[in-house]
């Protein structure tokens, strides 16, 4: 595993993205474990959504989804394959939120209450929740995932990208801008190859004996 060198100073946005990565990852590990230790309870909840009729598919969703969430959470916390993981989370969260909203609408209609006041166990791992809180939370997590998907959260990552170098300049806009400025206004301390410049420039500018 290759860690990103600390030669590029992370911006405040980068550090916020790292925090988002840890929060999102920690959340998925916690929620995944809550379901993984009680798979039969999660099985019953998944069944209530009536998404699949086939027992094998139903069992597979209930048995594997929690562990998959834990895996994605750990990847985010460690900073491995961050964009691919963020993509997976968007693909999990977006349809799941729609399904939860659909069920909440059914409950609201059955009970004759306002949609936003509906409270039920959606199978998210946190027990009964108010639907507006769940929708807000999921929307926030989708946004955070999209942010990470854009390439943020690179500092303190074990292996940000699985394929290709972590330090590809074109993938880091700030670094690219920094390098552009460097070319335009050469640093008095560094040469273009990154080595100490003072000696080289001194020798180049030195008058011939």
């Amino acid at each position: 595993m290759s860690a990103r060198p600390l030669s590029t100073n992370p911006t405040r946005a980068d550090m916020l993205a790292v925090l988002a990565r840890w929060v999102l990852g920690g959340f998925f590990v916690y929620m995944g474990m809550q379901k993984a230790v009680h798979p039969e309870a999660f099985l019953k909840l998944v069944r209530q959504y009536e998404l699949v009729g086939d027992p094998f598919l139903l069992n597979t969703i209930a048995a594997c989804l929690p562990w998959f969430e834990v895996f994605c959470g750990l990847l985010l916390v460690a900073g491995v394959a961050v964009r691919g993981t963020a993509l997976m989370l968007v693909l999990l969260l977006a349809p799941f939120t729609l399904v939860v909203v659909k069920r909440a609408l059914a409950i609201a209609a059955a009970q004759g209450v306002a949609f936003w006041t509906v409270k039920f166990d959606c199978g998210c791992g946190a027990g009964e929740v108010l639907i507006w809180k769940k929708v807000l939370e999921n929307s926030l997590f989708v946004l955070l995932s999209c942010w990470l998907l854009s390439g943020r959260g690179r500092p303190l990552s074990a292996r940000f990208s699985l394929f290709g170098s972590d330090e590809t300049e074109s993938e880091i806009p700030e670094l690219e801008a920094f390098n552009g400025a460097e070319k335009q206004f050469p640093s008095p301390l560094l040469s273009s190859d990154g080595r100490g410049r003072s000696d080289a420039s001194r020798s180049a500018n030195a008058e011939p004996p």
Partner: protein, 205 residues
């Protein structure tokens, strides 16, 4: 973008492999090929239009009492037991000699935290671990009463209809609809830990 898609696929593949392995290794893992809800097909065939007897309705999680369980019990040819009948059975001296057997269909965690005194445990989702102890007692008993948490919980119905009914005559099988929640609400005795542990929960005053 192509790299991100590839990375996503790699994460999905690795995550799926790990998830299958974790479920297989976990002592609480599900058996993927088992149909945990075989009653769904039977009840769906007999369901009246507009009524869903398969699952607790949307209100089930919102604390609204679900009374459809009794309909399902009858649909499956079993007998429902109300609170009075359960108390009669509990006080019947035949219970001490296992002439009347109580079966708790909840998981180990809930069973250990408290159950009807003398009740056998038979966790429907891990039945293989309990059948050797429970089945002989049920076969020998004159009456078998199965309960779970009550309310929207279907585990007692599933245990009675799927696990016990094929081997124990249905006339002997009762399902306690109110379940353990109703039992504790009535402030009846609760045993802690293992069966016949002798440790009783003190009733709240």
């Amino acid at each position: 973008m192509r790299k991100v898609l590839l990375e996503g696929l790699a994460v999905a593949a690795a995550g799926a492999a790990l998830a299958f392995a974790a479920n297989a290794l976990s002592p609480r893992g599900l058996t993927l090929t088992r149909n945990y809800f075989p009653n769904d097909t039977h009840l769906a065939a007999n369901a009246q239009p507009g009524t869903n007897l398969l699952r607790p309705g949307p209100e089930a999680n919102a604390g609204v009492p679900v009374t459809r369980l009794e309909t399902q019990i009858r649909e499956l040819g079993l007998r429902a037991a109300d609170s009075n009948l359960v108390q009669q059975l509990f006080q019947d001296p035949r219970r001490d000699q296992d002439g009347i057997v109580f079966v708790d269909a909840r998981d180990a965690e809930h069973y250990q935290a408290g159950h009807i005194p003398g009740a056998y445990q038979l966790d429907y989702y891990h039945k293989e671990d309990y059948l050797a102890a429970v089945l002989p007692a049920c076969l020998a008993a004159q009456t078998v009463l199965v309960y779970c948490a009550g309310g929207a919980c279907e585990d007692s119905l599933l245990t009675a209809s799927v696990v016990l009914a094929p081997v124990v005559p249905k006339e002997k099988l009762f399902v306690y609809e109110g379940g353990f929640t109703e039992w504790t609400n009535n402030r009846l005795p609760v045993e802690l830990g293992q069966r016949r542990s002798g440790r009783m929960l003190e009733a709240p005053r």
